[in-house]
Structure formats: structure tokens, C-alpha cells
């Protein structure tokens, strides 16, 4: 498949969820899919996976700040030279996204990182232990959030 065929196929798959998605084309080889219904995320990923487009290359968290009070999670799929981006929005406090690890086992590593860096709850994730942060990192402090203050770690000095 060349990249145009991949894009057409991906759009056709996502098109089945047109009531739950907004598709845009930021670049010639990229489509960006906003998933407005969180429950449809896993079915869309299954759809991509069945057509062999489910090559997950990264899960990215994006804190939009306390003013917007929302966070975004981006799932990048990169079949061939095409990037298919799925993005979901969740509230900053108590937000949760479904785990992809049942569909794509290697997603677990990304999701654990997302959980410990942003404090986003991943429903259905079996292992939520520390992955990258030090063992004695304080609970409930998430370093990649906008309101994280590195100086606050000084209070835990000797601990972190």
C-alpha cells in the first residue's frame, strides 16, 4: 500500500464512527482524528488494527493548563510513512482513558509512563507500578503537568 491508499483506508475506517469523531488533515501524510466519545476509542483502535494500520508508535500526554482545565491524550499510529493521530480530551482532575493494552500489549509501557507523568487514570491497566520516576518520588506529584514546581521537591529532599 502506498501512503495515499493507507490514508484512504484509515479515513474509511474512522468514517464508520463519524458521529464520534472529527477528522482533519494537518499535513499531506497525516490525519488527525478527534475522538469525542471516549468509549469509542478502543473500538476505533481495533478497527485500525484489523486492517493492519495499528502500528502504535507513541502515546503523548498534553496538559492544556489550569485555565482550560483539560488534558489531551494523543495516540500516534504510523503505518508506512503516514501518521494517524487519535486525540481524546479528558478533565484535568480525575480524568481517565481506557487502556489499549488488551488490543496492543506494548501500549502498556506508554500508558504506565502517561500515568506517572500526568496522573491520568488508565482504566483496565493491570500494572500501575513506578516505571521511570525514582522509587521515593512523592505520591500525587506529576512532573509533566503545567502546575508542577520543581522547587516543591526540595521539601522531599533526602527522599526523592
Amino acid at each position: 500500500m502506498n501512503s495515499q491508499e493507507i490514508l484512504t483506508l484509515a479515513e474509511a475506517i474512522v468514517g464508520a464512527w463519524d458521529w464520534a469523531t472529527e477528522v482533519s488533515h494537518p499535513r499531506p501524510n497525516q490525519i488527525d482524528v478527534k475522538v469525542t466519545h471516549l468509549n469509542e476509542l478502543v473500538p476505533i483502535v481495533v478497527g485500525l488494527r484489523v486492517k493492519r494500520l495499528g502500528y502504535l508508535c507513541a502515546i503523548v500526554g498534553l496538559d492544556l493548563g489550569p485555565e482550560v482545565n483539560e488534558m489531551e491524550v494523543l495516540y500516534h499510529f504510523c503505518p508506512g510513512d503516514v501518521v494517524i493521530g487519535l486525540r481524546v480530551r479528558i478533565p484535568r482532575q480525575g480524568g481517565a482513558v481506557p487502556s489499549l493494552s488488551e488490543v496492543i500489549p506494548s501500549a502498556e509501557v506508554f500508558e504506565r509512563e502517561l500515568h506517572e507523568m500526568f496522573g491520568i487514570e488508565i482504566t483496565g491497566l493491570r500494572n500501575t507500578e513506578r516505571l521511570y520516576l525514582p522509587e521515593r518520588w512523592p505520591e500525587g506529584v506529576y512532573p509533566l503537568r503545567k502546575d508542577f514546581d520543581p522547587a516543591s521537591l526540595a521539601a522531599h529532599e533526602g527522599g526523592v
Partner: protein, 173 residues
């Protein structure tokens, strides 16, 4: 009244300093460096720049080392390991922080995962700036440290002879 000078103690002290300065064994530890400084250290030790002519030997165990060559900012994960290695070294021990990151944290300053420079965690005797420092700079730093142990009359010359095939710009330290 001043304590009486013991000639024997003076002789032993001089002998110890002589031995210490002429065979400083170094241990190299990377606590979060990009490997740039580590490569320069290897280049310094190997025959082109040949720090071994000053008796410097790379030592794999902290228990046999006199000088700790520390590179990189100290990440929170590496801190405990760095402190443990430092504590395993025998007295007298010296620490040389090599490169910008080891001095202050460099570009990682203020990052959530780093403590900052080496001196945030363990005492440092000499700082060698650069990103990465050239081998001459590392030699110069080591010589400065060793000179600080020697009495004023018997200093090691800072400008050491360099190999003949070395380009012009590197012959001056």
C-alpha cells in the same frame, strides 16, 4: 607551646604525597551524561593524549581509586549510586566534575529528574568546564588538582610535552 616536629612523620608524609601524586588511580562514573565527556575521558587516557604518563590509571573498583571522575548531571535515579560509590572510596579521595552538566546541571538545570551538578550530592575538588571539555583541559584539571597536594617548590609543569604529530592548536594547554 608548639608541638615538637617529628622528623619521621614529616618523611612519611612526604613519601605518601610523592606516591599519591605519581600514581593517582581514577574511577570514572557517569551519573546522567550524554557520553560526550566520557568519550573525552577515554581519549585522555589512551595513547594520543596519554594521561598514563602521569601515572594515571583507570580503575574499575572504587575501593582502589583515588580520584572520581564524575560526568553528567546527577539524576535522581543515579544519586544513591553516586553517593554509594563515593563512600566506597578510601581516604584521601578527590572528585573532579567534568563538563558543564557535572558543574551545574547544564541544560538539565531545573529539570524534575535531576538534582543539579555533582556538588549537590558529594563534595567536589576540581571543576573542568566544557561541553565536552577537550582532553587538554581534563589533563590540566588533573594536574591542577595534583599540584594542590604538592609543596610550592615541586609543582608538576602545567604545559606537559605533547606528541610530535599533534596539531598546532592543541599543543598549548
Amino acid at each position: 607551646m608548639e608541638p615538637k616536629k617529628n622528623v619521621w612523620d614529616e618523611v612519611v608524609k612526604g613519601l605518601k604525597t610523592w606516591a599519591r601524586v605519581n600514581s593517582p588511580w581514577v574511577l570514572h562514573f557517569n551519573s546522567g551524561s550524554c557520553n560526550g565527556c566520557d568519550i573525552e575521558i577515554l581519549s585522555t587516557l589512551t595513547p594520543r593524549y596519554d594521561m598514563e604518563r602521569m601515572g594515571v590509571k583507570l580503575q574499575a573498583s572504587p575501593r582502589h581509586a583515588d580520584i572520581l571522575l564524575a560526568t553528567g548531571a546527577v539524576t535522581r535515579q543515579a544519586r544513591e549510586r553516586l553517593v554509594r560509590i563515593y563512600e566506597q572510596m578510601h581516604e584521601p579521595k578527590f572528585v573532579i566534575a567534568i563538563g558543564s552538566c557535572a558543574i551545574s546541571g547544564g541544560v538539565f538545570e531545573g529539570c524534575y529528574n535531576v538534582m543539579g551538578g555533582i556538588d549537590q550530592v558529594i563534595p567536589v575538588n576540581a571543576y573542568i568546564p566544557g561541553c565536552p571539555p577537550r582532553p587538554e583541559a581534563i589533563i590540566y584539571g588533573v594536574v591542577k588538582l595534583l599540584n594542590s597536594l604538592l609543596p610550592a617548590g615541586s609543582q608538576i609543569p602545567a604545559a606537559l610535552p605533547v606528541p610530535e604529530n599533534t596539531p598546532e592548536e592543541v599543543t598549548t594547554l
